[in-house]
């Protein structure tokens, strides 16, 4: 840097460090994911990362930005990981590629690249996939007994390259969110909806353990001050509050707090998705409002909407409101009123 002015010293925090920490914090969740559901998710993550880096490289070249500098910021990787973790692990390879390309090229760079994308890129990629390929995007894996055995790895590879049709539907099952929604729609009440399907019961516990692993990663991020507490804490509290409220009013039709907190992408959303700085609000109060609104929307979509999980839509919708939120929640400047 020429013409250097003060300050002449700097804290050694860089965007690269932040993004790396986020990725590391995802690892515990990923490990349990593999343990319960097989190596499919690893393939997802790998292909998504690769696609993201290649796509990023070419877009940067096209935009005449130095690829070395910008690739090393790690933001493309984080988006790729989040997308890969949101997609069912039994999705075929091209779904991942299409989703990642959309995430990087359209959702990130069409909006101006790092720092300028108004929407959370991973959520845009996810939403586009969900709308375009609903059949694939709603098929979730059933737990695998021995996820690291040669046999299950072979199966995962097969699914990955040829799609489910080649292997058969025996591998899939509904998610608990999905299952309960369907049952409720058929007029059942919650106490009666015992999970008959053994597989589903294991899914429930596996999901809970994965969620707790994400929570662990999230706590590390909080501790390292990489994310501010406002977003995850408000999000989890609000979701607990609204689900608790409905459960209290009508336990027959509305699931418990813990069900909502430990199922679907709640933890991923709380610590990794809404904490994306670029597409989120910057003021402390704004963060609280943002997280609160996302929580409400997620609940509403989960319980009353057409999709079993509503994180992507809730986040995208709230992304639009960010400038407004920021504007209305400007903190009081020192010495002003």
């Amino acid at each position: 840097m020429i013409n250097q002015q003060s300050p002449f010293i700097q804290k050694a925090a860089s965007v690269t460090n932040i993004m790396l920490m986020v990725i590391l914090a995802l690892v515990p969740g990923l490990i349990f994911y593999v343990y319960f559901f097989g190596v499919g998710v690893l393939l997802n993550v790998f292909v998504a990362s690769l696609t993201a880096l290649i796509a990023e490289y070419f877009v940067l070249k096209m935009r005449k930005l130095p690829p070395k500098v910008y690739l090393s910021d790690g933001s493309a990787l984080v988006a790729a990981w989040l997308l890969a973790l949101s997609i069912p692990s039994i999705a075929p390879w091209w779904i991942i590629v299409v989703g990642t390309l959309f995430t990087i090229v359209i959702a990130k760079h069409f909006y101006g690249g790092l720092g300028s994308n108004i929407f959370n890129p991973a959520m845009i990629g996810y939403a586009v996939l969900l709308i375009s390929f609903p059949a694939i995007m709603t098929k979730w894996p059933s737990p695998i007994e021995n996820s690291l055995s040669i046999e299950s790895i072979r199966q995962a590879l097969q699914v990955f390259f040829y799609g489910l049709t080649q292997v058969g539907d025996g591998l899939t099952s509904a998610t608990p969110l999905d299952y309960i929604k369907t049952e409720l729609l058929q007029g059942q009440i919650l106490p009666d909806i015992t999970i008959r399907n053994v597989g589903l019961a294991t899914i429930l516990t596996s999901n809970q353990i994965i969620s707790l692993a994400y929570l662990l990663g999230g706590i590390v991020l909080l501790h390292k001050k990489i994310i501010s507490w406002h977003l995850p804490i408000t999000y989890l509290l609000s979701l607990s509050f609204i689900s608790g409220l409905f459960h209290l009013i009508d336990p027959n039709n509305y699931s418990t707090i813990s069900f909502h907190l430990l199922n679907g992408g709640t933890m991923l959303c709380a610590f990794f998705i809404i904490t994306d700085p670029v597409s989120g609000p910057t003021t402390p109060k704004g963060k609280i409002w943002f997280a609160f609104m996302v929580a409400i929307l997620v609940y509403v979509i989960r319980v009353f909407g057409g999709y079993p999980e509503g994180i992507a839509f809730a986040v995208i919708f709230m992304n639009i409101c960010v400038p407004l939120i920021d504007n209305l929640t400007q903190p009081k400047v020192f010495g002003h009123g």
């Binding site: 840097m1 003021t283 020192f334």
Partner: protein, 510 residues
């Protein structure tokens, strides 16, 4: 005496590696008389001082060289006896790197004082003393260099004197060392300042990383109920005036207000000692303490005469006074890079860092802002630096002002924490400079417009007056006479024409 512990914490701030201990191991040092002293005529906020001596004149130590021009200005005195050699533009410590008018003084080596006139402040009127102080050349020695007599002379009633001993910037230790070595003078100075301000009590605000100074001061004020010490945590920028007042009293000085409107006035420790020296010993402001630190072999504090070449100090501290080196004046957070090592010590120069290359050449790439708001968390003024940055870099100055750009104290906390490595403060400085020069141009344009309007009006008036005069004259001459005059004129013209024609004809005939 009491030591107060409760503090009111402001938003953000940073905890940087203070690097202070290296320059506090040795006592304050003096160096031998330099070959020449270079004294810039503006070393303070306000108007340039007016030169009062002639080139070639012999002056004595402490003699007035240039006097304050108007109220917001400060005098300059000869730091030693010698000859005034020249008045010319020379490099000065200024971020622009541009030269400015300086007096060069060649010391005669005798260091003879003018007659010192201590002031018996207990006997004479306070206003009288303050008036004398306006001739002392004392300015805020913390770096702000605002003329001190103006701060003593104010219309609001001041109850509390706050002594700024926080010294929050990394590297700088001149106030710390001053407090350790001149604690008695400081306390005497505080009593004097209390008297001059008409204030009742004084609070010394000091960061908890100066235990030795705290101990010394505490001992001295044991029996003084009017002076207390408030220890504040070591968080930069606790030494910023408004932040320190808040830390100590919990009062936020509103934008555009002065602390005196809240019954408080703040002085830096070095300024108070300068006041003490002027009143008790009759010595005007001709020296200061300066920290020389950084790459030099023996970082140290020096008591130096103003005008001493910085290179002398760097060499004495075991550094290389080469043109290739980089020297930072002030602290690493708010200081600026000096244009050269060949600049004189001025009233504002509290510290010079012989900088490691990595302080100057930051080779980390600058990435786009990721809106992480780390800067907002660190901003002691609770601004939104990322918004200020956005509007400053795109030249949307009005919007930047709406986001309170001018509340920014340029402390650098935001740049310090920014993970994208954006030189945020540079953008704010740029935007502020542009806005200020725009305002100035606007003022000038307004004056020009007014003067132009005035002139047009004047011309109009003159025209009307002339027309009126002609009309009056016309009215006085009768219509008969008028027609006669016209007839005569016509006749003359026809005659002339005839003549020309004939001449023309005759010419042709020739």
């Amino acid at each position: 005496m009491n030591i107060i512990d409760t503090i009111f914490k402001f938003n953000g701030g940073i905890k940087a590696d203070t690097k202070k201990s290296v320059s506090t191991v040795r006592p304050i040092k003096k160096i031998k008389m330099p070959k020449q002293l270079i004294l810039p005529l503006r070393q303070h906020v306000g108007k340039v001082a007016k030169l009062k001596v002639n080139i070639g004149e012999k002056v004595l130590k402490g003699q007035l060289l240039a006097e304050a021009d108007g109220n917001v200005s400060a005098a300059i005195h000869a730091p030693t006896s010698g000859t005034v050699a020249s008045l010319e533009k020379q490099l000065i410590p200024h971020p622009s790197g541009l030269p400015d008018y300086c007096v060069t003084l060649i010391p005669d080596g005798k260091d003879t004082w003018v007659e010192k006139k201590p002031i018996n402040w207990k006997k004479i009127d306070r206003k009288e003393t303050i008036k004398k102080i306006s001739e002392s050349g004392i300015v805020g020695l913390g770096g702000a260099t605002f003329p001190t007599h103006l701060k003593l002379n104010n219309n609001n009633e001041v109850k509390t004197l706050i002594v700024n001993a926080a010294e929050c910037e990394p590297y700088i230790t001149c106030d710390d060392m001053l407090m350790r070595e001149k604690s008695a003078e400081l306390i005497e100075g505080i009593r004097l300042a209390l008297h001059l301000l008409g204030a009742q009590n004084a609070i010394i605000g000091i960061e908890d990383n100066k235990p030795e100074a705290i101990e010394k001061l505490a001992l001295l004020i044991k029996n003084d109920a009017n002076i207390s010490i408030k220890i504040v945590p070591t968080i930069y920028p606790s030494g910023d005036a408004k932040r320190l007042i808040y830390l100590i009293t919990g009062i936020q000085i509103a934008k555009g207000k002065r602390s005196t409107e809240y019954g408080m006035q703040m002085f830096n420790v070095a300024t108070i000692i300068a006041l003490y020296k002027f009143i008790h010993c009759g010595e005007p402001s001709i020296t200061r303490i300066i920290t020389i630190t950084g790459k030099v072999r023996t970082p140290n504090n020096y008591e130096v005469l103003f005008g001493t070449p910085l290179s002398d100090l760097i060499i004495d501290a075991g550094g290389k006074a080469s043109q290739n080196g980089s020297f930072i004046m002030g602290g690493p957070m708010m200081g600026y890079k000096l244009p050269s090592v060949n600049v004189p010590v001025t009233k504002a120069m509290n510290c010079v860092i012989d900088a490691e290359p990595e302080m100057i050449e930051n080779n980390n790439p600058v990435l786009p802002c990721i809106r992480c708001a780390k800067c907002a968390e660190a901003c002691p003024v609770n601004l939104q630096p990322q918004e200020l940055f956005w509007f400053s870099q795109s030249n949307q100055f009005e919007k930047a002002e709406n986001y309170n750009l001018f509340d920014c104290i340029e402390c650098g906390c935001c740049s310090y924490v920014c993970p994208s490595n954006i030189p945020l403060v540079q953008y704010y400085r740029y935007a502020k400079s542009e806005i200020i020069s725009d305002r100035y141009a606007k003022e000038e344009a307004d004056i020009a417009r007014e003067r132009n309007d005035f002139r047009l009006e004047r011309l109009q008036r003159e025209k009307e007056e002339r027309a009126k005069k002609i009309a009056e004259r016309k009215a006085n001459t009768s219509s008969d006479e008028k027609s006669k005059v016209i007839d005569e004129k016509r006749k003359a013209i026809t005659e002339a024409l005839e003549r020309v024609k004939q001449e023309g004809v005759s010419e042709k005939n020739d």
